[in-house]
């Protein structure tokens, strides 16, 4: 069994009072609770904090925990002689048991095998996991394999961690933030209790070309100045393959050209749209001939892109 320093996790001294422990928990829960936190590894941190608080807030569990002794966090250890006689009512090995599961079963001064409690049906726990998929996988649907470690009651009624492999089909149309449910694929129920559910939270990897908003996609469309002025036809990549897009003459930078139904599929029917956002780009290097042509254009053109500046400047000079 691996040691966890619950006092260190909560950042309190071993002689901390109940109020201090509660205060430390609340502070850390506000920081790391996965429903409110944006911290990296918030969920993992919160699990540690909640586990520590669950044991230290309960006088009986805290006393039993203190009697385990002190070790380095993560160090393999066995409870001192007499601990199991004092707190245990089952012959179990400390090898395949997690500290949290051990204390979850401690009630009335003894670690109880929950299976021995009058055969009351105990439902399995629900789990929630983030599933990272690519945009291409979201477009066509995919299958994912999840390696999970779930607490399960063993034959002796004590909880232990069991590896659990789940293979799920992610259907077309599941986009960023979509929640999906796998009924009965969470923790196993005991004594006829129903199995828990597994909830998947879909997270899309960033794509080098497409930006996602719901089921719509956005793509930068770089155009040369003359293409924007004269109009052109360009091949545009979409998740379903390239399509020809007609760029009308006089297209401005920032303008969005819509390719209907070329976005991500929607869950039950239909598709989102793809928007090509126009950027007008200029070459980094120009040849002598190109420079001459630009000069010729500058001399021959009456276009003034800052006409509205001049009006403002005239108004200001009249007032000062």
């Amino acid at each position: 069994m691996k040691y966890k320093d619950y006092y260190k996790i909560l950042g309190v001294e071993k002689n901390a009072g109940e109020a201090e422990i509660k205060k430390a928990y609340r502070k850390l829960a506000h920081k790391y609770h996965p429903d409110v936190s944006k911290e990296a590894n918030a969920e993992e941190k919160f699990k540690e904090v909640a586990e520590a608080y669950e044991t230290l807030k309960d006088k009986e569990k805290r006393a039993a925990y203190d009697q385990l002794g002190s070790y380095q966090p993560g160090q393999d250890f066995r409870p001192p002689p007499g601990w199991q006689q004092q707190y245990g009512d089952a012959n179990f090995s400390f090898e395949d048991i997690d500290l949290s599961d051990l204390f979850a079963g401690l009630r009335g001064g003894r670690v109880h095998a929950r299976g021995g409690q009058g055969k009351i049906p105990i439902p399995g726990e629900d789990y929630e996991v983030a599933v990272h998929i690519t945009l291409e996988e979201a477009y066509r649907g995919t299958e994912v394999g999840l390696d999970l470690s779930m607490p399960e009651f063993g034959a002796n009624g004590l909880m232990r961690r069991v590896p659990h492999v789940v293979k799920a089909r992610i259907p077309r149309g599941a986009t960023d933030g979509q929640r999906l449910r796998l009924a009965g694929k969470g923790g196993k129920g005991f004594n006829g209790g129903r199995n828990g559910d597994l909830y998947l939270n879909i997270v899309l990897h960033p794509h080098p070309l497409f930006r996602v908003s719901g089921h719509d996609l956005y793509l930068d469309l770089p155009l040369a100045p003359w293409e924007a002025v004269l109009g052109t036809g360009v091949d545009v990549p979409t998740p379903g393959g390239p399509v020809r897009l007609k760029v009308p003459p006089g297209t401005q930078a920032g303008q969005k050209l819509r390719l209907g139904k070329r976005g991500l599929p929607k869950p039950h029917a239909g598709e989102g749209d793809l928007y090509a956002v126009v950027q007008i780009v200029i070459p980094g290097m120009v040849s002598e001939r190109e420079r001459a042509l630009y000069r010729q254009l500058a001399e021959g053109s009456t276009f003034n892109p800052r006409g509205h500046f001049e009006q403002e400047i005239r108004n200001e000079s009249r007032t000062h």
Partner: protein, 111 residues
């Protein structure tokens, strides 16, 4: 070991749940769900219909409520306030993502 492929269930407006089903799936009691309905943070598919029926995406709100209640020891008004603010943050983040998606690659804020 052969692992069977499992089909997922969408948590969206196409699936509906009864009040007892939502209670069983979320871990909240029916009375607690009624309280959340009274505060307007849990909205039935057809407001006013009896018995109430919920779209399956209400599971996400109800499960969040269950976690917040037990992890922060919140009472019903505190829970309703937290859920309302979280909902507002969620909507604002969605709007921000939509606006950022429209900006050219180089112009977006660093995550």
């Amino acid at each position: 070991m052969k692992v069977e492929l499992t089909e997922v269930l969408w948590l969206d407006e196409q699936q509906e749940l009864s009040l007892p089903e939502l209670a069983a799936l979320s871990g909240l009691s029916e009375a607690e769900l009624h309280e959340l309905m009274d505060y307007g943070v849990l909205v039935p598919a057809e407001p006013g219909a009896a018995p109430p029926v919920f779209h399956a995406d209400c599971i996400v709100i109800a499960r969040t409520a269950c976690r917040l209640r037990s992890d922060f020891e919140l009472d019903a008004p505190g829970l309703a306030l937290a859920l309302t603010l979280l909902g507002r943050i969620h909507d604002l983040e969605a709007q921000l993502r939509e606006l950022e998606a429209q900006l050219p690659h180089g112009a977006r804020r660093k995550p």
